[in-house]
Amino acid sequence: MIRFFTLLKKEVRELLTPQMILPMLIGVLALAFIGNIVGSEGKKSQTGHSVSILDLDKTDSSGLVNKIFTESGFTVDYNTDLTAEQIIKKATDEKTGTVLIIPEGFEDGMGKLEQQKILKHSVISNFSIFATTGSAAVDLTISAVNEYFSNLMMSRSIPGEDPAVLKNPVVTDKYVSLKEKTAHISIDEVTGFITTQTMFIPIVIFMIIVSASQMIAVTIASEKENKTLETLLSTPVSRISIVTAKMTAAGLVSLLMATAYMFGMNYYINGLTGGAFSSSGDSSISSAITRLGLTLSIPDYALIGISLFLSILIALAISLILGAFAEDVKKAQGLITPILFLIMIPYLMSMFIDVGTSSTGIKLLMYAIPFSHTFSASQNLFLQNYQPVIFGIIYQSVWVIALVIIAAKIFKSDKILTMKINFSKKSLTKIRMF
């Protein structure tokens, strides 16, 4: 046991080198940085839009349009004594996104219940998303303007009636049910909440598994390259200690990376959503979500953790076996490509496809890949479908046991030193190992 820890310490040290840590740190910082930038730009786009208004009517009603825009958070450049050309030129010079021109006779026409036109000019300075959201924000405020004037018109024409009823005689009251529990909330709000809560999970899983595979394949190949593996194999430490120390070290280090990435991701997502869905967000949504039981309990997190750990072990064992075929570090990196595909498939599918409703072929493919179960675990647990999660964990355990046995067998035999893949006919006979 002491020797196992000696080996473990050495493996962790070999992994925690600046070459390994630096890319990870940069990745995490980049994520947090991008999240913050995108988030603050997004906030700017929600609140900081500017609009130029040319009021040719100069009445109380047209003044109200200005007021509504100002109160909606727009920076309004309000003019009454320019021509249309002049204000558009001014807006172009000052890069104001939108120009609104309220025509003369706006209030008069409204009084006669005639539809009025406000001219909206979008001035293009670039095609960024925020430029478009600026225009959309103007449209949204225009509907607030509409709402206001329509209520005014209705209460004038049909006094004593509620304009809201007149406009929408039929409304829906939205409920969502899950396993006999019901909450007063719309399905859009539920999916919105769940997506923001879970969208970073697959990315993190993907990164951990990939980095763990890479680490172990590289360490085993570099030991072969430096002949330290031969030395190690001739010492009195057991082969199984060598295998498990390598796997544990790579597992630990990738969990460490996972934690770092989780923090980065958290920043990234908080930045993106401006913390919209964090606990302090919309309280009616979060209380409805809690009533539905759409939250993860500590046992749920434990199940996700177990599933993730098993996935890491599987990836490590496969990489260890593949790394054993490689003579040097470069070849090792090439050899782990198959694992990347095995992870890529469930990763992409979990993002774009609902496996539950897809065809049997795809279902079988997904269930056969051991990594899929980790990708689907968090969703299943949100929906309190414990059965597939437990099944997945059992299935993954079988993989782990089988792979560790194979890996230990390779290390026990002398195949670890003699087998290699050259993809030539002659040497392929050498890989027939069992």
């Binding site: 002491i2 000696t6 070999e14 390259e225 030395t231 010492t235 009195p236 002398d414 040497s427 050498k430």
Partner: protein, 240 residues
């Protein structure tokens, strides 16, 4: 028991290549015994089998009565193996490497301390032991690995081309260390393709070519038998 190591009919194939075609030799206690032969002769293969990291297809080697084939776990604590062109863990310091390797051989802190002292004395790398191994020269790496290999005072030290690629001075130092340890009670099995150098080091040599041993004897015996000036000439006669 008058032999330290008895090698019996060792055979090894890699795919279709027959690397060893049944070799036999004996090594006496405290002797320095060399396997000499050209590239591809099968030296490394033989040493790896005796070091328990390759399994023979046939035959066995017996170290003080214990079969390397049946009981490799009992062999490993009492041998040490220095692979051909061996490297180290580049991120470790010289001190860290010796300490790590010593911990693999013993859990006893006192014994480990003794190993460390022995290793530091042999390596003779004063002032550099706390530097990363990545900064060591080839000669320094070889010294530290040799120090590691002999610090546990193994019953059998298996050294694959311990001096290859080193300059004259470094090679001499390495040879002196090996000789010193053999005199103080350690059996050594070395390999080399440098037949001139090996005369100065070994008590007896076995000439191996294409997986077969052709001749065994002390350098002077072999030279007088063939009336040659040196072992290279003997070898070219033997493989004719």
């Amino acid at each position: 028991m008058d032999n330290a190591l008895v090698v019996q009919d060792l055979e090894k194939k890699y795919g279709k290549i027959k690397a060893l075609k049944g070799i036999n030799f004996e090594v006496k206690p405290n002797e320095i015994f060399a396997l000499i032969g050209p590239n591809g002769a099968g030296k490394t293969t033989a040493l790896r089998i005796i070091a328990t990291i390759l399994k023979p297809d046939a035959g066995d080697a017996i170290l003080y009565g214990t079969s390397i084939r049946k009981n490799p776990e009992q062999i490993r604590p009492v041998i040490s193996y220095l692979p051909e062109e061996a490297g180290t863990y580049k991120n470790m310091t010289g001190f860290g490497y010796i300490k790590f390797m010593a911990s693999l051989y013993t859990n006893d802190p006192k014994l480990r301390q003794k190993y460390l002292e022995t290793a530091f004395e042999i390596a003779g790398l004063e002032g550099r032991m706390n530097d990363k191994l990545a900064t060591y020269s080839k000669g320094m790496v070889r010294k530290i690995i040799l120090a590691r290999a002999v610090m546990t005072r193994p019953k059998l030290a298996i050294l694959d081309e311990p001096t290859s690629g080193l300059d004259v001075i470094n090679a001499l130092e390495i040879r002196n260390t090996i000789k010193k340890f053999a005199q103080s009670g350690m059996t050594v099995l070395v390999s080399s393709h440098n037949m001139l150098e090996i005369e100065y080091l070994c008590d007896r040599v076995a000439m191996i070519n294409k997986g077969e041993i052709h001749k065994i004897g002390t350098p002077s015996e072999l030279k007088s038998e063939f009336g040659s000036q040196n072992l290279e000439e003997v070898f070219s006669e033997v493989v004719k």
